[in-house]
Amino acid sequence: MADSTCHAPLWTRLRRRTLFQWLTFGLSALAVTVLGAPLLGYFFGVRKREEHWVTVGDADQFAVNETRLCTFDNPLRQPWDGITALTGVYVRNLGPDQQGQDQFLIFAVNCAHLGCPVSWFPQSGLFMCPCHGGAYYANGERASGPPPRGLFHCTWRVEQGRLQVQAPHYPTLQDTLSAEEKTT
């Protein structure tokens, strides 16, 4: 007798549902939901980004029309990031605007192509990328090679004579560093 139930097709066995079976299914579904939701949240959730400002130097120490690499400890770091948290940006002082305010260009070092670090060559006024040969002019615009756009602009401000940059996350084509770029 027991043998025949064992070999009955699965669907006939599933049709004979008792209240206890329904309870078991319901409880299992609840278990999956209450366990699954937080686990999915943990694995696939993304923390809200905080805004941090980093001082890169006194605004008047940047000579006009010269580009300099400034490095700082990125506050977006984890305490255990070590030297990996060091971040570089290229700063160029464009000189004062009509109101006499110094204007700056600040670029992330990451090539807009695939993120490799570009080097600045003051002799030829070019940024060059070691990976696939992308090149940019001093104003950050694409000069040649595979990059689909110019260098990523960091957001900056001058507070009490000190030049500050908004701590840059890792920039990619759809997730740039300045608010104006995102809207355009």
Binding site: L69, G115, G125, Q174, D175
Partner: protein
């Protein structure tokens, strides 16, 4: 004593029942010819598995010392290399056994493809095998990240930039992959988890399925021209073939053992002679002179991306790998019957030759990377003396401009310097002074390969530079564009 051992054995056997479960599996019959010379074609899968076991052992050994934290990983690698007894050897072994595993998988796959072993009824064995290849490549990429040096850091950057191109979800995927807004400790922990827990678990599970299929569906007999696979009759034919078969655990496994032992000896020798790979430098992203390169199984992709036109790039990054994998999956469904012998399947042989040529060429291009500027050539590689021996002072000045404006980073002289642009050793025999001025000032039209130097070079520098460049031509040959050169060119037969 003997009787006691026998009694102990019987006690275990009474409980484990291996005699009627595992033993028949190990001694399952395989086609007779596998015990012959043709059996040497069947050793590559087991060699891959041997190397996987070696990876597990050396991986456990490395995990005893390695610290998967961004601020300590590099130091712990140096400790392994220089302080931990035989740490250097384990690191080297882990690298070369991993490389060997990829090589063996590729050879194994090529053999299975050429012999048509993927055909009925072994389609699923092939598909699972493709998954195993993908997972092994995943192990290689994640493993490179654990070698927390600039290559690892910038490897993550390149991976992030690629993922960032996914329409819409890009930024979310990047953050998920890096574990935060920047490359750092969270990224390392993620790749450590993938490398040590997630991918190995998948790899071993699928390997079990692969082996299960190998046992259940049997090893394909060596192909014979004219012997057709027909799903209707194949099973009966194979059954008949096995009736004269030999047990796997016997002569057949001896070749596997021999080859696996040989592979292990080679890998150990490579590790002992070549030593551990890296870490090259501390993972400081602000260090100058970073020149990131992917590991060798990915050099073809590096080459493909560098040589493809810009409009195709996002397609190659996001769609091409998927197509490649789908193509591999579809192999046994496109042809799961018919001839198996390579001599009767010219298209299959051609496909192997073409694919290996393409991937080999792309890998070679990836090694030499002629598209990358040589960042130190302008200051590190002098203008060859013999090409300026006869130069006028103004031409010498032009040679200086050439070096100072970093032209050398992309343009070689007599073979030294960057190779992104053309070698300019004989440019004077190709371009006139006017053409050179135009090229240098405006670069490649439409923002191609050469930047425009118009605003970077003064008039005096430009005329000196062009004077130098037009002088770069074989002795006795007049500059292009002069009447003499015109006569010369048209007189040539």
């Amino acid at each position: 004593m003997r009787r006691t051992l026998h009694a102990i054995g019987a006690w275990f056997e009474a409980r484990l029942c291996l005699g009627n479960s595992l033993w028949p599996m190990l001694t399952h019959p395989v086609p007779k010819s596998i015990a012959g010379p043709m059996g040497w074609w069947y050793v590559f899968g087991s060699a891959s598995m041997t190397l996987l076991m070696l990876q597990i052992v050396t991986g456990i050994g490395l995990a005893l010392v390695y610290v998967p934290a961004a601020d300590k990983a590099y130091d712990s690698l140096l400790y392994l290399n220089y302080v931990q007894p035989l740490g250097w050897f384990l690191r080297a072994l882990h690298y070369y056994a991993g490389s060997g595993m990829v090589v063996m998988l590729l050879v194994h796959m090529t053999q299975v493809f050429l012999h048509g072993s993927y055909k009925y009824p072994r389609e699923l064995t092939w598909v699972v095998g493709v998954f195993l290849l993908i997972l092994t490549m995943g192990m290689f990429f994640t493993g490179q990240i654990l070698r927390w040096d600039p290559d690892a850091y910038w490897g993550l950057a390149v991976g992030g930039s690629m993922a960032g191109r996914v329409p819409g979800a890009g930024p979310w995927i990047v953050e998920l992959m890096l574990g935060g807004p920047v490359i750092g400790g969270n990224s390392l922990s993620r790749f450590f988890t993938l490398h040590v827990f997630v991918i190995p678990a998948l790899l071993l599970s699928l390997l079990a399925v692969h082996l299960w299929l190998v046992i259940k569906k049997g090893i394909s007999a060596p192909p014979q021209p004219g012997k057709i696979v027909d799903p209707k009759t194949y099973d009966a034919e194979y059954e008949r073939e096995l009736s004269t078969g030999v047990p796997f655990l016997g002569e057949a496994i001896l070749k596997d053992l021999f080859f696996s032992a040989l592979v292990v000896v080679v890998v150990v020798a490579l590790a002992a002679v070549l030593g551990p790979k890296g870490p090259t430098a501390p993972p400081d992203p602000t260090l100058g002179g970073a020149n990131p390169r992917p590991e060798w199984p990915f050099l073809w992709l590096f080459g493909l991306l560098s040589l493809s036109p810009g409009w195709a790039e996002t397609f190659i990054i996001l769609v091409f790998p998927v197509l490649l994998i789908l193509g591999l999956f579809s192999v046994p469904f496109v042809s799961n019957r018919g001839e198996r012998a390579p001599s009767k399947r010219p298209v299959a042989v051609l496909a192997v030759v073409v694919l290996f040529t393409i991937f080999g060429t792309l890998t070679y291009q990836g090694v030499t990377a002629p598209w990358s500027p040589e960042m130190t050539a302008w200051s590190g590689q002098p203008v060859p003396v013999n090409i300026v021996r006869q130069s006028s002072p103004r031409q010498l000045q032009g040679a200086l401009v050439f070096q100072n404006k970093n032209c050398r980073n992309c343009h070689a002289l007599e073979g030294t310097g960057g190779r992104r642009g053309p070698d300019l050793t004989l440019v004077g025999s190709r371009l006139t002074a006017d053409q050179l001025i135009d090229q240098v000032s405006n670069g490649t039209p439409g923002g191609g390969n050469m930047p425009a130097y118009g605003s970077q070079i003064g008039p005096d520098e430009m005329s000196a530079l062009v004077d130098f460049l037009t002088s770069l031509r074989p002795a006795g040959q007049p500059a292009v564009g002069t009447p003499a050169s015109h006569t010369l060119a048209t007189d040539r037969p």
